[in-house]
């Protein structure tokens, strides 16, 4: 993986301590790095050109040239400009005063429309809405089955016409059925289609004319390359979509296509889809996406996830315990479980800026964590609070109970003790020293 842009800019511009002033040549070098980074992130090269021009203009201004930390200043400018380009704030759906609100989902094959339909429905349900799904993908084998299965999982009705071969008719009758059954949102799943397929694009135009959707959402794969601009322009011309759902953001694609689409069509990214599970779906945050494109980490998302999963009162209790160094295996287990609620650990690490690259690349084996959980669960209550009593024969029992071996139990206990020690140091105000680098790694 390449270095992050912020690292590179730091290299090129550095700190000005003990150096003269910044020259235009320095700035040009920095602009080249920005250009390359954005191209590697799949931002369309025309958009990149414009963007770099505007960043350069600002960078030649006093705030950078006279700064002692020009590298950081330029990163700040790039981040601001990126966030600005991607839209100032997250934009919500528009709801019809006369339900049902109709949402039409469109996009290329394989961009994730069907999954996105289900996730959007689930998202709306969590906001107190009462959605229904309409399966109008009559082309892909088993596409309708897929939506029906997802609907069953969420207990949301899915409308379709068995053996129907007219997507327009399915959409129309689906909306009618939504009116009759008193559903307030109707989400229409359509077949994936190429933007240059005249016939299928005409079908979309027909559906749009017939059901008059209040929202048309283009589903865009975050891994899309330069061609995303073509796709978005064509869909805009034909059906004039209102916003974008960006999918597969749980991968490691930088997602520069999102920026291109916004820049070229002016349509906001409304939602981000981030995982295999149906609740991995959220509003889109331009500033976070800017950080992602820059490789700056995504602290805000992490903080939000943490807030959503950790009970605040329990966190305070824990802090108290840590200060008194009463941290037990029970607390350790609870902490670990809280952390795992936030998603896979590797995903979390990648969101934290400043974590050394080696650590980010460590593949944390989730099964190792399962093993740790098993070991702790095989301890008695007493052993969990006072680990010192865990002697040889207890270790053997724990190993047998957890399906591991004594060595693994030993390792875990040793690391736990190290951690306790570390916490003592922390609470006594001493600097944190020698954090074992393998604290997060597997191998327990």
């Amino acid at each position: 993986m390449f270095d992050t842009l912020s690292d590179k800019l730091q290299d090129v511009l550095g700190d000005l301590k003990g150096q003269g002033s910044l020259t235009e040549d320095d700035i040009n070098k920095a602009m080249r790095e920005i250009r390359l980074a954005l191209l590697e992130a799949d931002v369309n090269f025309k958009v990149v050109k414009h963007f770099v021009a505007s960043v350069k203009e600002r960078s030649l201004g006093a705030e950078v040239m006279e700064s002692l930390t020009p590298g950081q200043q330029v990163v700040k400018i790039v981040h601001e400009e990126l966030s600005k380009l991607m839209g100032a704030a997250s934009t919500k759906l528009s709801f019809s005063p006369r339900p049902p609100t109709v949402v039409l989902m469109v996009g290329l094959q394989g961009s994730g429309k069907t999954t996105a339909c289900a996730k959007l429905a689930k998202h709306l349900m969590s906001q107190g809405k009462n959605p229904t799904l309409i399966a109008a993908d009559i082309y892909r084998p088993a596409a309708i089955d897929q939506l029906q299965t997802l609907g069953e999982q969420m207990k949301i009705p899915v409308f379709t016409i068995d053996g129907g071969d007219d997507a327009v008719e399915i959409a129309r009758r689906g909306v009618e059925a939504a009116v009759e059954s008193g559903r307030d949102v109707a989400i229409i799943d359509t077949a994936g289609r190429l933007h240059i397929d005249e016939e299928l694009m005409a079908e979309l135009v027909d559906i749009r004319a017939r059901v008059k959707p209040h929202n048309i959402l283009l589903v865009l794969d975050s891994m899309a390359g330069q061609d995303a601009v073509n796709v978005a322009e064509q869909f805009q011309e034909k059906v004039d979509f209102d916003g974008v759902i960006l999918t597969k953001l749980d991968g490691d694609a930088r997602g520069g296509a999102a920026l291109s689409v916004k820049a070229v069509t002016g349509k906001p990214i409304k939602f981000a889809s981030t995982g295999e599970k149906l609740n991995a779906f959220d509003y889109f945050h331009p500033d976070r996406m800017a950080s992602r494109i820059l490789g700056m980490g995504d602290v805000l998302t992490l903080i939000e996830k943490a807030q959503a999963t950790v009970d605040e009162k329990k966190a305070r209790e824990l802090e108290e315990k840590m200060r008194k160094a009463q941290f037990t295996f029970d607390d350790f287990l609870e902490q670990m479980q809280n952390m795992r609620k936030m998603g896979p650990l590797t995903g979390m690490l990648s969101m934290i800026p400043g974590i050394p690259k080696q650590l980010k690349q460590t593949q944390i084996d989730e099964r190792e964590l399962d093993r740790v959980e098993a070991i702790i669960c095989s301890m008695t209550r007493e052993e969990r609070t006072t680990p010192d009593i865990i002697n040889g024969s207890r270790r053997k029992r724990i190993a047998a109970g957890s399906g591991t071996n004594v060595q693994a139990v030993n390792q875990l206990i040793n690391r736990f003790k190290q951690m306790q020690k570390m916490m003592k140091q922390l609470s006594s105000g001493k600097k944190m020293q020698n954090i074992p680098p393998d604290l997060l790694k597997g191998g327990y």
């Binding site: 191209l39 299965t149 891994m223 390359g225 694609a253 590797t346 989730e366």
Partner: protein, 334 residues
């Protein structure tokens, strides 16, 4: 010109007169679809019209900085990625300095040669010479694995091979049904279990079934997975191991399905899937849009993985052997 399927399938006997028959078939297909090459070019023409891109008809006026910049932008716009683009432009500039490029024709000739060299990596054939041969198909979500499998099965059947499909995507809703429909269309058995069951078990069953039916080829469909999801990649390794335990040296082919609209992330996909299950070739799908599929250049250039097949549409015959020259020409010729 494009290779025939006989050449691509290693281990398929060529019956007498088959070459002519194949020739006829190709002719027929051409009439039907206007030919892959034409369609690729038509796609390019459309994009040029839409975007007024740098794929301009005046790509070569004179040898100056602007030309190199145009070339660079064309390659970047095709998703070839910065590193591969720089490598190609450097090579071209060097050849220009050596006097190898003086005319427009020479420019395109050298460019094509540069791309063909990049694509020369590895064996272009698909190994079906074992009995049964196992083809494992992997890739991220939505790249067209299941569709590709349906098409490969169809071509194998046309070559007289018997095929068993293994529905080892037990995760995605209705994935098993989707493969089932392909099986019906193509006319080959699909070995399946319940959704949510162990994909390793499905693969085990499929290989046993292939043996008892004396089938030639087993094609294994797997769930789409992001290469960053460690547990899912571990599962894939397990599937790979299950196959290897049943048949030594199998899977004989591990094909990675890559969407031609993918940007630079395609390179990471190829790298991580290769690390996990030793990818033997890439199928570049969805080339019938306006995307140029330049990520294939980056994958071949940086990872030396051959591109074996391309997908140019939804019809059964819309899967083709990859040809580097055609691909390069479709990228750059007017």
């Amino acid at each position: 010109m494009t290779r025939s399927w006989h050449e691509v399938f290693k281990g398929v006997d060529e019956p007498a007169g088959a070459a002519e028959a194949a020739e006829d078939a190709v002719g027929e297909e051409k009439e039907k679809s206007g030919g892959f090459f034409k369609r690729l070019k038509a796609g390019l023409a459309k994009s040029r019209k839409n975007m007024q891109q740098h794929m301009s008809t005046v790509m070569f006026d004179k040898l100056d900085a602007e030309l190199w910049e145009q070339l660079e932008e064309t390659l970047i716009f095709a998703d070839c990625g910065v590193d591969s683009t720089v490598a190609i432009v450097d090579r071209m500039e060097k050849e220009a300095q050596e006097g190898l490029i003086r005319t427009r024709e020479q420019f395109y000739e050298r460019l094509e040669a540069a791309l063909v060299d990049i694509f020369a990596a590895g064996d272009y054939r698909i190994d079906v010479s074992h009995h049964p041969s196992v083809i494992l198909v992997v890739g991220v979500n939505g790249t067209g694995k299941t569709t590709t499998i349906g098409k490969i099965a169809w071509h194998l059947k046309r070559e007289g091979m018997s095929v068993v499909l293994a529905a080892a995507d037990t995760f995605r809703a209705a994935a098993i049904e989707q493969l089932g429909e392909w099986g019906e269309r193509v006319g080959c058995p699909v070995i399946r279990q319940e959704r949510g069951s162990d994909p390793g078990a499905v693969v085990y069953d499929a290989i046993s079934a292939a043996r008892s039916r004396d089938a030639d080829v087993v094609i294994v469909d797997t769930a789409g997975r992001l290469h960053t999801q460690v547990p899912l990649m571990e599962e894939l390794k397990k599937i790979h191991r299950v196959i290897g335990k049943q048949i030594e040296g199998a899977p004989h082919e591990t094909l990675l399905s890559v969407d031609a609209t993918t940007g630079q992330n395609g390179l990471t996909q190829a790298r991580l899937f290769s690390e996990a299950v030793d990818v033997s070739g890439v199928v570049l799908t969805k080339l019938d849009g306006t995307a140029k599929g330049g990520i294939a250049v980056a994958i071949s250039h940086e990872l030396d993985i051959p591109i074996k097949l391309i997908g140019v549409g939804e019809q059964l015959e819309d899967l083709r052997p990859f040809d580097a020259g055609d691909f390069a020409r479709a990228l750059f010729e007017d």
